[in-house]
Symmetry: C2
Subunit: 382 residues, 2 copies
């Protein structure tokens, strides 16, 4: 294989650093995917996945990216002309809207400001004004803005209506508090490569009773992503309908074990602590955070660039000189903000080292940014 | 991770044994998928993939199973009511038919006997009788039967018509002779886990000019599997539209290097030799091969069970006592045939050991089957 620089610290909002304990499982030989050994492994993986989702709902692991399960959630529930409310306060909220459009749903956009949260009252109004809404889609944690939506409160609204509640927890599950059953989430999707700290390439989806009722009445619009096929193979013999990624299943299993060993509560606390340290550090450097205070994510922090700082130069310096990757802005935020991921297996020293390197990089580009590390240390020492 | 028996020899028609040189690449740290390092790696992987496909056509690597790219080939080219000829002489030929049906194409089945091949003359008649056929689908190597179709000759027929030629080479590419450009294949799909000997979870698709012309006029029917999105991201910056499996890309790159180091010609010869040894061995045991002589696969061999041999007992003995997995029959062939895969990294000693263990297992079940190893040795020593 081509030589690559695999030694850089990933402080991007996914894929995240994967512990070597997880990576090493993938060096194990392949086993047949239609064997009881693999069925047991998948069963075990799904059981752990359900604990992390905090759900009793049917749960499937899919070979594909997070977008594959977002697609699955929409294509299995919305037919042409079906009404859907897409909450679009970020790039991934927009993605649900785009997917709904491909399947010709009758889309109603609820567009809170990017960086702010969706208001449950406003959602209730929309559901009351528009009769016959079949689904509401929302992204819990918007990596594009560093903001998050109040998915428990939104779920308390949707449950009063016939609509099903579809939530993307791709960049929050395992890092921020998600309780699928308590939050009344009918379909919840996630990815392997964010807070769970497994390699990219797998995704998961939960389907509750109310959602199954809709799925069973929806036209089959995709072959590879047909939920009924996954249900049928799983119910019959704990198998997937098509060949799954055996190696990634090893890794996912090990990563989920690590999540549960640490404990969900501890993991949420660690993410919250690192988020507060990052925010304090960047603010102490004089930067303005992009997300509104009431909406800030615990897995990714976004900040506006100081006047005159060039995005490419800044991130280039961080990557080439300091061996740290952070992310730029997406869509209309490109060049205007940068984003620091602190999710998955992220540790204090990584956040501190990143803040210190950001100070150095800014200084080199002519912006004086001291005090970030000191402020972060204060948060961590409390 | 749960303890599993990862020491069994996989003589199933995929996933196949993956060399540790390939597996070990997956223990490398994850890198960002929107970096030039990863772009270079993917570019390098695609270049090697094109050499194996023997094509100049656009080639994409997809995170998903072989079925994902079969779906992609159909959903991007056939709209409701479009006429397609599905050649269905096996389970995977049937799959193309099922996918075409999901997208409501007007399907015409050409059903040669299972275990036999499709006749180019018959295909020409069908294309002449039925005006306006938009696509022809065929599976090169049918793992379900152990037979293969003459895809070069069939391609020579399709090229005389407006129809595009869609070929599944999932279980042949890298093991049997495939030349996408010479065979006039407009869309060719394959998987990582068969003759290429990479882990399951990636698939690849080639798209030629005639096919792009059709794709551009076809309604977008899938979000995750929309070929236009892959083209757009690739053309703009050698990226995938959605997060790819970084670890599996490492493995695929290394596996393709090994394919090219051995050389395609040598690889085809090795597969052919092992196939002939396996066939000679099983026939010497008094078994009847399932596939017709003119149609036999070089990557998987199928044989009918002798009277009174129970499929589950036989394969159970091979797996538990002799640590070898072979496959049973699919669909209406379940219980009637078994299938031995000899593809990917398969070696002489594995084929010989498998034949010897099959003799022992048959003997234990009351069927006297000597002479298999001797016959295979004869083939190998020539």
């Amino acid at each position: 294989m081509k030589q690559m620089d695999t030694e850089k610290l990933l402080m991007i909002p996914g894929p995240t650093m994967v512990p070597s304990r997880v990576l090493n499982t993938m060096a194990l030989p392949i086993i047949g995917h239609r064997t009881s050994d693999f069925g047991d492994l998948t069963g075990d993986t799904v059981d752990m996945m359900k604990k992390v989702f905090q759900t009793e709902n049917d749960t499937y692991i899919i070979t594909g990216s997070g977008t594959a399960v977002m697609d699955m959630a929409i294509s299995n529930t919305l037919d042409k002309g079906d009404k859907v409310i897409n909450i679009t306060n970020g790039n991934f909220g927009e993605r649900f809207y785009k997917i709904s459009s491909v399947y010709k749903a009758d889309t109603i956009k609820y567009e809170p400001e990017w960086g702010d949260l969706a208001d449950p009252k406003k959602l209730r109004e929309l559901l009351e004004e528009n009769e016959g809404i079949k689904a509401v889609t929302v992204v819990h944690n918007e990596t594009s803005t560093g903001a998050k939506n109040p998915i428990e409160d939104l779920g308390n609204v949707v449950k009063d209506f016939d609509a099903i509640y579809i939530v993307d927890t791709i960049s929050s599950l395992g890092g921020d508090y998600v309780n699928v059953d308590k939050f009344n989430i009918d379909i919840c999707v996630t990815g392997s490569q964010k807070c769970i700290a497994a390699p990219p390439g797998l995704a998961a989806i939960t389907v509750g009773e109310k959602a199954w009722d809709v799925v069973s009445k929806t036209e089959t619009k995709s072959f590879y992503l047909d939920l009924n096929a996954y249900k049928k193979s799983w119910d019959a013999k704990k198998e997937t309908p098509y060949t799954p990624s055996v190696s990634l299943t090893y890794a996912m299993n090990e990563a989920l074990e690590m999540v549960l060993e640490e404990g969900l509560e501890n993991r949420f606390k660690r993410h919250d602590l690192l988020a507060r340290a990052t925010r304090a550090g960047l603010e102490a450097m004089g930067l303005e955070l992009f997300a509104k205070e009431r909406a800030r994510s615990v897995t990714v922090t976004s900040a506006k660039y100081p006047e005159g700082i060039d995005d490419k130069k800044f991130r280039g310096l961080l990557a080439e000189k300091y061996n740290i990757r952070v992310a730029g802005g997406q869509s209309h935020l490109a060049g205007k903000i940068f984003r620091v991921g602190h999710m998955g297996s992220a540790k204090e020293y990584q956040v501190l080292g990143t803040l210190a390197a950001i100070e150095l990089a800014f200084k080199e580009l002519g912006y004086n940014a001291e005090g970030g590390v000191a402020a972060a240390k204060k948060v961590l020492s409390n």
